[in-house]
């Protein structure tokens, strides 16, 4: 209390001083009405008076100072000309302020309330009024009128939960808004408020949807959020066109329930609950025997179909245009990554720039995602064609086979869809021809006469997975090994299932005893694998003799961009697709073993993995030749793991693939190149190519 009193005393002293200065200045101004500096000084005094009185909560004083300041700011901005009349009003107001300082605030309302209100009214007269004889003044008034016409502004506020930490109180923002006009709608969404257990009192869980009726331009409303707009979702939109004479035109198309929910009177849940208890029109009509159930159901179906059509409205776009867009966005991402890197390196110099560039990067990622999505089409079409293939082929081979499809809605890049068709067809033919036996064979092994093939597509860990599975004979490992020995591929020793199945993918390898019209003519799984690897995918086989076989194809979501890990070898930076990396390890003890005939291996998790020294393969000069000083990446090779030795790991970033073939020629082990954030060129590793390059060479040696 004591402090409050002493604060008040300070205010009185300050105010008395300012008011008397104000009076003086106004008198001087009367003799020299064009003294802008003096106007500024007067404005400042009144501004300070307003602020100070606000601090001591002397609201009567503040109300007058506020209006005084308003008119003065019109003078400052040139909207209002100083006239003798105006100065008289200013002086009168100053007198009232002087009186307000001299009386006890407790009785000021009773004593001076009416006088303050008269002074405020007198000031307000200058708010929009212009001297009629001055055409220039009239013009500015007209312009002001256009800008400051009444409008409805919709404001959506979604703050980050930790907004309080940055010292911002949304309540202050709302208060500020409320001073700019009148809220036509206030809806607060409490949806994100968690259960008490996980409720953090320092977090904000609410978001708002507001409609503000205001005379201020949209920009002024936006300015309220100048400190928070970067990190939060703030949308300010002029929706005046939807309001005519205060009527919300959008209500016409809405149900009462929706409107109530939008206005925040009821929640979505309330509506749902009610909807559950309510009978549908159809049910009531059926109950009253006005109409038959079958009719209702049929019409509901037609209605749904019609709605589906409406929903999936499409625009046909030339694929070439999309390709160009994808390329351009790729360039954009590279460009922004460069800017971002430069900004990060100079981080401490300009925080604002840093924020802006991060924002830009985020948006560019969204754009990229969206653009990529425009190229995505469901695999449904491809899948559906196989129904026919299976039916026709099974018929010709006198087999009974049923095809089950799952995940047809999975979306793939257009290019992928086009190019995956052939490999899939091959696998399906393989299943029909070699996998599923004749009805007699199947009967004798106790299987249902009708064979099944499943095709599934789904997304997993950022990859597209397509599976072709049959319940046929499965792969006979012994048969495979026999064939491999015949062809000189297998030289004895223990092999894992994966390694055995790997033989199936070597050119010209077939265990089929007969050559049919459809398969088994040498165009084998090697082509399938090559096609899939060209799409930067991989294919795996799982099989159990007598039970069936599963081919699993993994494909990247898109062809234009990959997530890559940047590694260094000497001065070179190589990008390794993250897709292929299983693990990155820093060797702690000497884990490299040399085994006669197999080259270098590293011991890893109880197994042995062949080691590739990248600097050797590409002949890059480097000082790091001891694996202990470098890093080892465990990569997913051809159905086996391979270890790659590099100097160091630099980082991880999305890169846009640039083809080398266009301007150069294909290099084994390299699938393309990219431009990094710092402008350097980085070659992108082709893991399968590298595997071939490294071990092919060793075998030659």
């Amino acid at each position: 209390m004591n402090k409050k009193n002493s604060l008040y005393t300070i205010f009185l002293e300050e105010a008395a001083e300012l008011v008397s200065g104000l009076e003086n200045d106004l008198l001087v101004l009367e003799s020299n009405m064009s003294d802008r500096q003096l106007v500024d000084q007067i404005f400042r005094a009144v501004h300070t008076l307003k602020g100070s009185s606000g601090m001591v909560e002397y609201s009567l004083f503040t109300s007058l100072a506020h209006e005084f300041e308003n008119i003065l700011s019109r003078v400052r901005s040139g909207d209002l000309k100083i006239t003798g009349n105006l100065i008289t009003v200013f002086l009168n107001s100053t007198d009232v302020l002087k009186q307000l300082v001299s009386v006890d605030p407790k009785i000021s309302e009773r004593e001076l309330g009416p006088e303050v209100r008269v002074a405020v009214e007198n000031l307000k007269k200058f708010k929009g009024m212009q001297p009629e004889f001055d055409p220039v003044e009239q013009k500015t008034a007209g312009m002001a009128g256009e800008n400051f016409s009444e409008k409805h502004i919709q404001i959506t506020l979604k703050f980050k939960p930790d907004i309080f930490v940055s010292g911002t109180d949304p309540l202050m923002l709302l208060k500020e808004l409320s001073q700019m006009g009148e809220f036509v709608r206030i809806k607060c969404n409490p949806g994100a408020v968690p259960v008490l257990d996980s409720f953090k009192y320092e977090s904000l869980y609410l978001s708002w949807e507001l409609i503000l009726k205001t005379d201020f331009p949209v920009s002024s409303v936006e300015n309220v959020f100048v400190f928070v707009k970067e990190n939060n979702t703030i949308v300010v939109e002029d929706i005046s066109s939807k309001f005519v004479e205060g009527v919300d035109l959008r209500y016409a198309d809405k149900m009462l329930g929706e409107i109530l929910e939008e206005e925040g009177y009821v929640t979505e849940n309330d509506l749902k609950k009610i909807a559950e208890t309510q009978k549908r029109v159809g049910e009531i009509l059926v109950e009253n025997k006005n109409v038959d159930t079958s009719v209702v159901n049929r019409l509901l179906k037609s209605q749904q179909k019609s709605r589906d059509f409406q929903v999936s409205q499409t625009i046909r776009v030339d694929a070439y245009k999309l390709d160009r867009l994808v390329n351009l966005v790729g360039e954009l991402v590279i460009g922004i990554a460069r800017v971002n890197q430069i900004v990060t390196e100079n981080h401490y110099k300009n925080r604002e720039l840093n924020d802006a560039s991060e924002h830009l990067e985020r948006i560019s990622r969204y754009i990229q995602e969206q653009v990529m999505k425009t190229r995505m089409i469901p695999i449904e079409g491809t899948f559906r064609n196989f129904q026919r293939v299976v039916r026709d082929m099974a018929g010709e081979l006198s087999k009974r086979i049923k095809l089950f499809l799952a995940g047809s809605e999975t979306e793939l890049d257009k290019t992928l869809i086009e190019q995956i068709d052939a490999p899939l067809k091959h696998l399906i033919r393989n299943s029909i021809d070699h996998g599923i036996g004749s009805p007699e064979e199947r009967l004798s092994t106790g299987k249902p006469v009708e064979g099944s093939i499943w095709m599934r597509a789904y997304q997993q860990e950022g990859k597209i997975i397509i599976e072709v599975e049959d319940d046929g004979k499965g792969i006979d490992k012994k048969e495979v090994l026999k064939k491999a020995t015949e062809r000189g591929l297998y030289k004895g020793g223990d092999l894992s299932d994966k390694e055995i199945y790997n033989f199936l993918f070597t050119p010209g390898f077939s265990t089929a005893k007969s050559v049919t019209e459809f398969s088994g003519r040498g165009v084998g799984l090697d082509v399938v694998r090559k096609n899939i690897e060209n799409l930067r995918g991989s294919v795996e086989v799982f099989s159990e003799k007598g039970k069936g076989t599963l081919f699993r194809i993994k494909l990247p979501l898109t062809l234009a961009i990959i997530e890559g890990m940047q590694v260094s070898i000497g001065k070179e930076v190589i990008t390794v697709p993250l897709f292929s990396i299983i693990e990155a390890v820093r060797p702690e003890s000497n884990i490299v073993k040399t085994i006669e005939g197999k080259g270098e291996l590293i011991e890893f998790r109880g197994g042995f993995i062949p080691l590739i020294r990248l600097y050797e393969v590409f002949d890059f000069p480097t000082d790091v030749t001891d694996p202990l000083n470098g890093f080892i990446l465990i990569l997913d090779g051809h159905n086996r793991k391979i270890a790659l030795m590099v100097d160091d790991i630099i980082g991880q970033q999305q890169v846009v693939i640039k083809s080398l073939e266009k301007n150069h020629h294909q290099i084994p082990g390299i699938s393309g190149a990219t431009v990094l954030g710092d402008g350097r060129i980085s070659l992108i590793l082709d893991v399968y190519g590298l595997e071939k390059l490294a071990f092919g060479e060793k075998e030659k040696k």
């Binding site: 402090k3 001591v56 300015n223």
Partner: protein
């Protein structure tokens, strides 16, 4: 070690109010009437080896206004000190200017003591 806050405002009432509130909350408070005095205080404090942890500044002041002051602060050794600007609800454009000049936050006048303490706590830890 108490944290030090510099309040720059031409209103004696406001300075006193900030002083009371923040002293109560356990801060050292330095006062300046305008931007020029503010800069002088900063330099003086630097000489004595003390540190200013946060600046609260008004915008509209005689001699040197708040925007110029912030720009000056951001130029030199003191650029890392967070600056909170004081505005009134009618000064939206000032808020933008303040931000552009390098202010980290703002507070609308008049404010309640707890509002002030709360914001200061967010900036000074």
């Amino acid at each position: 070690m108490n944290k030090t806050i510099l309040i720059v405002d031409d209103s004696a009432t406001l300075r006193a109010s900030v002083n009371f509130v923040l002293t109560d909350a356990g801060y050292n408070v330095l006062q300046a009437k305008n931007g020029e005095e503010g800069l002088a205080k900063l330099l003086e404090n630097k000489r004595t080896g003390e540190k200013v942890d946060m600046i609260i500044s008004d915008i509209n002041m005689p001699v040197m206004d708040g925007i110029t002051f912030i720009k000056e602060v951001k130029k030199g050794d003191f650029r890392f000190i967070p600056i909170l600007i004081l505005t009134t609800e009618s000064e939206n454009s000032k808020k933008m200017e303040g931000k552009a000049a390098g202010a980290s936050g703002w507070l609308v006048k008049p404010f309640k003591p707890e509002q002030l303490v709360w914001v200061v706590k967010k900036f000074v830890r």
